[in-house]
């Protein structure tokens, strides 16, 4: 209560600076920013609005009008027609496996290169860097051929293995850089005390790196979720396709029925928006981690 009686007191140290910005100008800047943000998000809002309209409502009032009708027919049509639950499951399995395996592999690789100090570590890092840069187009046909030869074509395992390795290239690179900053006295002390390399990894390195690994896994998950070319080529049948591939295959059919198309794009986008809301902080932080390279 006592606090409430003195809010008008200019207590903030930066008040002097702030007061010079009380003009109308700040509202113009804010207005422009809001306008730009609305423009950026307009496609998503439009998809959401029109996904729940009836076709007649869309035809009569156009895409900009708020829905005068409510139906989940379009959403349901795509849900059933595209076997959406199956695709959601495939995407979750692929991205989850690539995130977990990819992060683990990155950790082992980086540990071996950085702290385990295997010979030729630097040369390996350059190789890894090239691996990150190489366009997937120059791998896609041999991988397609090899998957067929190995009997893994049209199986989630082929893409899980491939993305585990591809993501771990970046992860190894990043973690090696992080590990170079490691307190070496700590590791030295553990070694003197007779800890094995495995114990050092599990009891010292892992706990320290846990936050970084969490960010890495989140990123691997989203990146794999959005991958398109390799899953498109390697996952041919309806039962193995991911959401990303299913959306691509759907293209070309969009002219037919605008509300169903809006519903389809909404469903395709919805899971990542959900991840975005859950992992928003990690994701924006993760870009920072990625940019340090």
């Amino acid at each position: 209560m006592t606090d409430a009686t003195i809010p008008s007191a200019p207590a903030k140290p930066s008040a002097g600076r702030r007061s010079r910005r009380r003009g109308a100008g700040r509202w113009i800047v804010l207005g422009l920013l809001i306008l730009f943000l609305l423009l950026m998000l307009a496609p998503l809002v439009l998809a959401a609005m029109n996904a729940v309209k009836t076709a007649a409502d869309y035809a009569a009032r156009g895409p900009l009008a708020l829905p005068h009708s409510f139906t989940i027919a379009g959403l349901k049509a795509f849900w059933v027609h595209a076997n959406f639950p199956r695709k959601l499951l495939n995407s979750l399995l692929l991205s989850g496996a690539a995130a977990v395996f990819g992060t683990a592999l990155s950790l082992f690789n980086a540990y071996a290169i950085g702290i385990g100090r295997i010979r030729g570590g630097r040369a390996l890092l350059v190789l890894i860097l090239l691996g990150i840069m190489i366009p997937q187009e120059s791998l896609v046909y041999p991988l397609y051929y090899m998957a067929k030869a190995a009997g893994l074509f049209d199986s989630l395992w082929s893409v899980i293995i491939i993305f585990t390795v591809l993501q771990s290239a970046f992860g190894t690179y990043l973690l090696s850089a992080v590990m170079q900053e490691f307190p070496h006295e700590l590791l030295e002390a553990a070694r003197v005390d007779g800890a094995t390399r495995w114990q050092i990894l599990r009891l010292i390195v892992l706990p320290i790196l846990r936050p970084t690994l969490a960010v890495l896994a989140t990123f691997f998950f989203i990146w794999t979720w959005n991958e398109f070319l390799l899953p498109l080529v390697l996952l041919a049948s309806n039962d193995t396709q991911t959401i990303s591939v299913a959306m691509g295959v759907l293209s070309g059919q969009y002219v037919s029925d605008p509300t169903t198309t809006a519903a389809a794009s909404l469903l395709g986008i919805a899971p990542t928006i959900l991840f975005f809301l859950i992992f928003q902080r990690t994701l924006t932080k993760g870009v920072i981690v990625g940019a340090v390279k």
Binding site: P43, L105, V287
Partner: protein, 285 residues
């Protein structure tokens, strides 16, 4: 060690195989027939390939140049103005909002934009509703327009990435630097030019490198929105090799395209890294 085996199996061996295939004529089945450099000489005379390289420049503009410029202005407005005037929370809110398109699956975003840009799509309906029928266009079907429509979509997708990187870079700048400059009479444009830009040099390099490489690899938006058409006007190297691999089944030729694309990517990447290390050395002196 499993990492090395995986790398050999998934990257090194396929990469070597791809180069090998590029010297052959092969339909994907049977024995590949060695033809030397025939695929590469054909590539140099192929106008579709040159068009695809030209279009790559358009994508570099749409993914590396334009989003960087927009994001620099946005980041400095949010950091130097919004965060001070309206609080950190609002600044973070805007950052998250602008970042959102960046994490969508490109194919799903493609469906969304196809729905907006097709001849009977949302954009033309809006233009018609505003009485601007003359401005309506067949955005994805007109060879003169399609590449610009794709560029607009890519700008939309990419702004969030550079914005978030730049804002994280600004986080290590002491706000009192701006305050001092302001007290000395530096306007917002001067603060942008003499503080924000120099401070963000490393980030601009990183964003430039990563987005340029990404622009060289663009595939999904072209696949979903235009299939490289109409009339090859939006063809890009990635889609062109995919098209040769899986539509015409000229696997050897597709491999040559992919190899050429890889060579360009790696050379550009190395030039960038070299320029960056030089820049850092100059800073040291």
């Amino acid at each position: 060690m499993p990492g090395l085996i995986g790398f050999l199996l998934v990257v090194a061996v396929p990469f070597a195989m791809n180069i090998g295939i590029s010297f052959t004529r092969w339909r994907g089945i049977g024995e590949p027939r060695y033809v030397g450099l025939a695929n590469y000489t054909r590539l140099l005379a192929d106008t579709a390939f040159w068009t695809s390289l030209e279009n790559t420049l358009f994508f570099v503009v749409a993914m590396a140049v334009v989003p960087t410029v927009i994001s620099l202005v946005l980041a400095s407005t949010l950091f130097d103005y919004v965060a001070n005037t309206f609080g950190q929370g609002l600044s973070s809110f805007f950052r998250a909002g602008f970042y959102l398109p960046q994490i969508l699956p490109v194919s799903a975003a493609g469906i969304l934009w196809g729905w907006i840009l097709n001849p009977h799509g949302v954009l033309n309906l809006i233009l018609g509703g505003l009485g601007m029928v003359g401005l309506q266009g067949n955005w994805l079907g007109d060879p003169g327009l399609a590449i610009y429509a794709l560029m607009a979509v890519m700008v939309w997708l990419q702004i969030g990435y550079s914005l978030v990187v730049f804002m994280s870079g600004l986080a290590r700048v002491d706000p009192s630097l701006y305050e001092a400059a302001e007290l000395d009479g530096a306007g917002s444009v001067q603060r942008f030019w003499y503080i924000t830009i120099p401070m963000l040099r490393p980030e601009i390099f990183v964003v430039g490198l990563t987005t340029t490489i990404a622009a060289l690899k663009v595939f999904a938006p072209v696949y979903v929105l235009t299939n490289g058409g109409p009339n090859f006007s939006t063809m890009v190297p990635s889609y062109y090799s995919y098209y040769q691999f899986f539509s015409t089944v000229r696997v050897g030729y597709g491999a040559a395209i992919a190899t050429a694309q890889t060579a360009i990517t790696v050379v550009l990447g190395l030039i960038f890294l070299w320029a960056q290390s030089r820049d850092e050395e100059e800073d040291m002196e």
